[in-house]
Subunit: 200 residues, 2 copies
Amino acid sequence: MIHIRIMSIPLNNTTKDKLLEAAVRVLNMQPRASLADIAEAAGVKRVTLHRVIGTREELLRDVALRALEQMDEACYSAVKGKRKAFEQLKAIVGALVPYADSCHFLWKNPDVWDDPEIAREIKRHDQELCDLIDRAKAEGDILSFIPNSWIIASLDAVLYAAASTAKAGNIATNDASALAIQTLFGGITKKVKGTALAGA
Amino acid sequence: MIHIRIMSIPLNNTTKDKLLEAAVRVLNMQPRASLADIAEAAGVKRVTLHRVIGTREELLRDVALRALEQMDEACYSAVKGKRKAFEQLKAIVGALVPYADSCHFLWKNPDVWDDPEIAREIKRHDQELCDLIDRAKAEGDILSFIPNSWIIASLDAVLYAAASTAKAGNIATNDASALAIQTLFGGITKKVKGTALAGA
DNA sequence: TTGACATGATACGTATATGTATCATTTAAT
DNA sequence: ATTAAATGATACATATACGTATCATGTCAA
């Protein structure tokens, strides 16, 4: 077996990894999926899921923590070597597209925020993103009248659109990344003359 | 109470209406919500839900049909009196924001597509949207290299971002409409010099 | 071979969700 | 006041999901 390790995230293909991957994928498509469904998607039986992970609550928690790790790592290596906040933001969007499922899981499951550790991580993540957006605004690359909360919501939304479209087979994943950047930043970037709001 | 009637969609505040409204709202936030949860959100008991609507499957079907009606109506009156496809599209986005929940429900519940009537309606809706996008491309207002499927996915994504952000209290609903238009069409509109892809 | 380990098979009890039926209560119209 | 309609209260059966325990099987390493 080939072990691919990107910094701190081991893709071990262990049973636990398979289960977490299956969970985020299945739950995003069928939020009412049972643990049996998830186990089947991972190619194991339900008893194994319970043995390896535990209860449903623990599963959701592990999925969320894994999602946060992935996003952290992706963002971290994406901004490396880039100076302008705007360039860093664009890189982050592109880097997050492969993890759009994980990102969306966090966004769509507010119940996991009850966990203090997850809440803390999400808050930190959000804060770092806000800071970056503020920098990009200060550097004149993002329209300052657009609220950060809106930008973050749109970011997740566009990520999810990219993942959905790619998964539906309409678009290659690479193209989806490019389109996500195009769509999001074409929209929040200062235009030469006015904004799209003119004449709306 | 003020009765608002837009063409064919009566806001009767009947028990059924309250239940459908509660269902789309609750299920979007808690996809695992039970029928009891939905009934409670509608201010009735579960037995009443069963009496008025029927089984869970019938509930989902009714929610989907109602969503399609709402979207149809909103789009229909939005394009009225506008000639350019681009203007019609912008109007549609703005008009759909108040129905983003319904829109998102359809997008997030592929199981209801099994119903032939719903599948047919969705297909028709999609086709009309594609035609409109094609016209806007032909008129030179939308970047032609962006796939229609991407544009439709982004449209739903941005709608949902608008609804989420508005519901979270960060932004007023009116502002959310404007921001949705700004974000989406700022991104897919031809820029004076190059696209946001440059330098990505 | 032996033993440790992971997984499957099976069974069990419990909890929750679902759908229905019956009767009581309220409300509005006549 | 009386009736009809809508809703609630209650109970019931059934199905599904969940979590755990026990034993069997397979696999890999020492």
